[in-house]
Subunit: 477 residues, 2 copies
């Protein structure tokens, strides 16, 4: 690819342009697809997704959730069964109307999410309390015809995700599932992402269409704007009633099930880059880096063989140690390779020249800029763990430093440009919520802390009446 | 699920009905989706697919093929660029015409395969010989609006697959890729499937739309009919010319790339069942069984704990040995569990009762019906390897025994009902090919052996003129 190498834009100059350069030049994603808003996930981007899949599959198994695959098409009539749900997705649903040049008898929606088609099957599968809990997941593509400006990974018309769907005998069972998903499963993923977040319960206006409440991971990007991470939805009996999903309980009575749904998407890859990246490119936490270590041989005429042998040996022993290692033995210059792997965000580089071989040493350079000479290869694992820890600490500090209390709309207006989260009081009315966003220049009510009630410390920042909630406000992608 | 348990139909009575019972009752797939021809892959079926993915991903990595994800939609104009290709897929392509209630400016095809959208990007990505070979794969869903009778896994309107696409500097490079895919990668998968096959080059009529030639794995089912397995296509420069995929070679000249594409699909799951199954249900080869071993505790009042402890210990040590093990500690009876795991095809069952604990023994029953008492748990791995070998041998014998030479159409007509492969001579004309199928009652020309020329041993079985090829004929799904 013949474009100029390396990232030309600094984050401080134009964050958005910097991001576009990183994702394209780093080989994460390509927006030049012939179908607008449908991007191509390139090998390096997909490799991160594959790691996310592998790690999350382990958590799904522990949770007793089984992978499945449901049809991509949903007959229009099914979408209509739950009205709030239909209303929520109507504007962005794409429809298949023709096949083989002929009109179809019934239009088929391309799934914008799979509640309706899955729950049609739950109705057939669930009979008795012994069938519960029923927990399934699918890894699939999702299409939502978003007409807003697209942004690779963050906002597009097609994305990949995991969608988990569960049915329980009791409300408590469903709530416990929500807790397990957010506090254990997604939390474990966020530990691997080295990303701190606010765990928020969304205001009604932004709750998943058809849910009683939605819990989301809100993460700050370096420009002070928020990207929503995985969402977990308590569906109550809102779907089990229209889809008639009933079971015979131990007391012999027929009851409707209680349900949850939850999803994590390829959007996460974009968030990782905007959260951790620097002016050289992406910075990937070791836990989620497709290659944790790249070895670059430094070759001098006549001494190639000793270096090549050494690099192969190092690769082998690091792999035996369970690490993901790449030996870059392409003909390009060492400098070219250094830049490329920094752009891609590989956490650790090992350079091996003839001197290193003679001295029985390794020169290492971390993606955070630390250079060192190692005698002992076993230290590599430790250094990677340190990088993971350092990124987590940075992320935590960045989040905590960003939270600012505001008592009035004026204050929010003045400070909205700073970015980050603003903590304030809200009466709970949708009207005030709307005005807060429009009057503050875009800082919107993201929600209340999930599972931790906070007492208001003043009146509603918009109407000045009694506040019901302490809410977190931010500009968001 | 309140249906009658166990398979009620014998293979010899009604093979098709037997298959439908096995896939549904065994929890492989459910056809009762609200969108006709779009089936639901259930947990046990998907677990096999996940294993196929894991195993094939290792082979892709060794081959230097990178996973990616391309858009599911293809603007109509792209499909039209390669005429044979368009012609081949026109009748079964589904079109998206509306989004959010509005007509789209350009219709979008739902991918029936991804050559056209991928090669649009290859055009952007390939500049120099140093960019070659370019090898990518994607795991995705495919939609083909087949109007024929559907059959779960075997023929449906949506399936999952891996599609590999490569571009090479030379024709030899592309041909070597075809060889590597069929002889190494897919062959390794077939070893794991314990399935013998004929590796056939398809006749022109059945070559992939837009390819120079197609190589396929043809496998016999127990009813004597063939299921086509993975296909590998030599695309030559048929796509690189209309898509203008050129590179500057080492000699400074601009040249068109040579391409291949290849795919393996969820159809394979159906083939595994119809190939290996017996009257009790599926029989899964250990290499591809989601659980290789199921442990069933046999509980007696007062002696539960000793049995439970023992089963947990066995599970742990087998897992440490790298096996996929499930401990079935549900409240159902042992007999119920035996039947269920036999139906699902798990290769080995371990029964542990109080006596086994006292005698420090394991009672094992293989899915092939062998019962034994083991003193040494280390033997389990060996027994699984034996099952894999036995299934492979059976498969090989079944295939070889099925191949019959036929010299005349009369002979083919008379014997077509026996099923299996018929080896005969063919002049090479499409007309004779058509007549052979219609006159024989459905036995069609499947192709010639790939990479192994066979000399005709008579004249064309239809027209009686000089034969050009020895071909294999069979009825097929």
């Amino acid at each position: 690819m013949s474009e100029e190498l390396g990232v030309q834009t600094k984050r401080s100059e134009d964050f958005s342009k910097w991001y576009l350069e990183v994702v394209r030049k780093g080989g994460f994603i390509d927006q030049r697809s012939p179908a607008k808003g449908f991007d191509v996930i390139m090998p390096w981007g997909y490799a991160i997704w594959q790691l996310i899949q592998e790690k999350f599959n382990v958590l799904l198994k522990e949770d007793g959730t089984h992978n499945t695959y449901f049809p991509m098409v949903i007959p229009e009539r099914l979408l209509k069964k739950e009205e709030d749900h239909l209303e929520g997705f109507k504007a962005e649903t794409m429809m298949i109307t023709d096949a083989g040049g002929e009109k179809l008898e019934e239009k088929l929606a391309v799934r914008p999410t799979s509640e309706t088609i899955m729950y049609h099957m739950f109705n057939l599968w669930i009979r008795s309390h012994t069938d519960l809990p029923m927990k399934v997941n699918q890894w699939c593509n999702i299409v939502r015809y978003d007409t807003k400006m697209t942004k690779p990974f963050i906002r597009g018309r097609e994305f990949l995700w995991s969608e988990g769907h569960t049915a329980h005998a009791t409300e408590e069972g469903a709530k416990a599932q929500v807790d397990n998903v957010v506090k254990k499963m997604y939390q474990k993923m966020y530990d691997d992402f080295a990303m701190s977040k606010l765990l928020l319960e969304r205001p009604k206006s932004d709750t998943f269409a058809g849910a009683n409440f939605s819990v989301v991971f809100d993460t700050l990007m370096q420009d002070g704007k928020v990207v929503q991470g995985p969402g977990t939805h308590m569906l109550g009996q809102n779907f089990s009633k229209p889809f008639d999903i009933k079971f015979t309980d131990q007391d012999g009575k027929e009851k409707f099930v209680w349900q949850t749904s939850w999803g994590i998407t390829t959007r996460q890859i974009g968030a990782l880059i905007m959260h951790h990246g620097d002016d050289k490119g992406a910075v990937l936490p070791p836990e989620i880096a497709p290659y944790q270590v790249v070895i670059v041989p430094i070759l001098f005429k006549g001494k190639e063989k000793m270096v090549e042998d050494k690099t192969k040996g190092i690769k082998k022993s690091l792999e035996e140690d369970g690490l993901r290692v790449h030996l870059d033995d392409r003909p390009q210059s060492a400098g070219f390779k250094f830049n490329e792997w920094e752009l891609k965000g590989v956490p650790l580089r090992i350079e091996i020249g003839p001197k290193d071989v003679e001295n029985e040493e390794l020169t290492i350079v971390t993606r955070l800029g630390k250079k060192d000479v190692l005698k002992d290869i076993d230290k590599v694992k430790e250094i990677l763990a340190d990088i993971q820890k350092e990124l987590s600490h940075r992320s935590e500090k960045f989040l905590l430093d960003s939270i600012k209390d505001v008592k009035t709309l004026e204050e929010l207006k003045k400070r909205a440009e700073e970015g980050g989260f603003f903590r304030g009081n809200w009466c709970g009315s949708g009207e005030c919520e709307g005005w807060i966003k429009s009057e503050s220049g875009g800082a919107e009510v993201r929600g209340t802390l999930y599972g931790k009630e906070e007492k208001p410390f003043g009146n509603c920042i918009y109407c000045g009446k009694d506040a019901k909630h302490v809410v977190y406000m931010a500009k968001a992608y």
